[in-house]
Symmetry: C2
Subunit: 214 residues, 2 copies
DNA sequence: TAGATTGTTAATCGATTAACAATC
DNA sequence: TAGATTGTTAATCGATTAACAATC
C-alpha cells in the first residue's frame, strides 16, 4: 500500500521537455491556445497520449479550444521543478565537461553550473566559459557551504566510480552521469546515466532494418 | 502478417551498448566467461532480463559457465552493425558540433565522421579536431560521391527543419538529431532525436521525489 | 445547435518478470 | 552427483490506445 502515490510514467516525464519546446514554438506563432491534437500532429504522437501526459499538470483544457499555452508551459516547468534554479557542480573539465560548461541552455532547465572541478592541478584557477575550475579536493567543503545537491559527472570512464564515491561522500544527492555507462551509488542518491551510444544503437538498428526491407 | 519479423524491443537495443562496456570491463579483469547473473549484478538488472537481451545474438551460453566474453562481444557489435565502419557527415560546426568532432569514441560504435559542414562561409576550409569543414552547398555532391547515409545534425534549433529537408533531398537516410526536439522527415528516413533535457527531466523528478519522501 | 475537444474508464499491447525443464 | 546456469514458455505488470460521456 505504501510507496505508490501516483507514479508518473518515465516515458511521460521524458516527453515533457519536448512539450515545453513545442509550446514555445507555438507561442512564437502568436497562438494563445493549443489542443492536444495540434501538439500530437506536430510531434507525430496520438492526441490521447498527449492528453494523458498533460494530465500530470493540474491544468484543465477547455473543450473545443484546448489549453492556454502560457499556463500549460508554466505548469510543466513547475512539475519538473524547472521554475526555480538549482545550482550544480560539474566534475571533470575535459572536452565533454568544457562543452557542457559552454552550453547556455541549462537555465531553461532550471539548472546552473556554479563551478567546475578537476583532478588536474594545472587547471586549477582557470576559467572555462566563465566558470572557475577548482581542485577536486575543494569539492566537499564547497558542496557543504553552498548546499549543492546535483553534480554533473564528466570525468574519464575509468575515474567515474571513484569520483562518484567522493561525490556521495561529500553529500551530493543527484548525479547526472556522462562518464560511464554505469556507476553504483547507495540508496538515497539518484543517478541519471547519459549515454550517447544508446541513441546511436537505436539509429543503427532502425537504419539497417530500413535498408534491408525498404 | 507482414511487417513483423522479429522486432527486438527498443529498450533491449538501448541496453546493448552498456553490455559491450561491461564485457570489455570484465575482459580487462582477465575473465574469459561471464554469466547473465554476473552482468545483472554489476548493472543492477535482473538475470532474466539480461538473458532475454542477449538472446538477440545467436550466441549460446553454457550452463553453469555462462557466455564466452569475446564471442558475445563480437556478436553484439555485429548485431548493432558496429563491426564495420559507417561514414557520416556532421552538419553544424558550432560548439556542440565541434565537441562531437573532438569525441574519439565513435569508432567503437562503428561510426566515422568523415567531414563537417556549416552554413557560415567563414568556417569553410577550416579544420576542427582534424576534420575539414565544407560549405553546406557542397553537401549534396559529396553525399552522392561518397555514398554517405548518416548525418549528425548539430545546427541551431531554428535551422534544424530546413537543414533536415536539405539532408533528405541530398539522399541521407539516417539523421542523428541533436538540433531540435523534433524534426519531420519522409517515411524511409530514420531520425534519432537526442535531447539532453529528457535525462535532466528524469533526474529532476526523481530527485524531487527522493528529497520529499526520503 | 453541431461538432470538436476534453478527461476518464476500459481494452489492448508490449516489456518485464516468473516458472521450470534441460544441461553441463 | 548436485547445483548453477541456460533458454523457453507462461504470467504479470505497466504504458499506450480505444471508447465514450461531458462540455463549451
Amino acid at each position: 500500500m505504501l510507496k505508490k502515490i501516483t507514479t508518473v510514467p518515465l516515458p511521460t516525464i521524458r516527453r515533457l521537455p519536448t512539450y515545453l519546446r513545442v509550446l514555445e514554438e507555438m507561442r512564437k506563432w502568436g497562438k494563445e491556445y493549443v489542443s492536444a491534437t495540434d501538439i500530437a500532429d506536430y510531434l507525430g504522437l496520438t492526441p490521447i497520449q498527449v492528453r494523458k501526459d498533460l494530465a500530470v499538470t493540474p491544468i484543465q483544457g477547455k473543450p473545443k479550444i484546448g489549453f492556454e499555452i502560457n499556463e500549460l508551459h508554466r505548469a510543466i516547468r513547475s512539475f519538473l521543478g524547472w521554475d526555480k534554479t538549482t545550482e550544480a557542480f560539474l566534475v571533470g573539465a575535459g572536452s565533454l565537461g568544457s562543452a557542457l560548461l559552454g552550453y547556455n541552455g541549462f537555465d531553461e532547465y532550471g539548472l546552473n553550473i556554479a563551478a567546475a572541478f578537476d583532478a588536474n592541478p594545472r587547471l586549477e584557477g582557470m576559467e572555462i566559459h566563465g566558470k572557475t575550475v577548482f581542485s577536486l579536493d575543494k569539492l566537499p567543503d564547497l558542496v557543504n557551504r553552498m548546499g549543492i545537491r546535483i553534480a554533473v559527472l564528466t570525468v574519464p570512464r575509468d575515474a567515474a566510480q571513484e569520483c562518484a564515491d567522493q561525490l556521495v561522500a561529500a553529500g551530493i544527492k543527484g548525479i547526472w552521469n556522462f562518464a560511464s555507462p554505469h556507476i553504483t551509488v547507495p540508496a538515497g542518491v539518484v543517478v541519471q546515466n547519459e549515454n550517447i551510444a544508446q541513441g546511436l544503437a537505436v539509429l543503427s538498428v532502425k537504419l539497417a532494418e530500413k535498408l534491408e526491407v525498404p
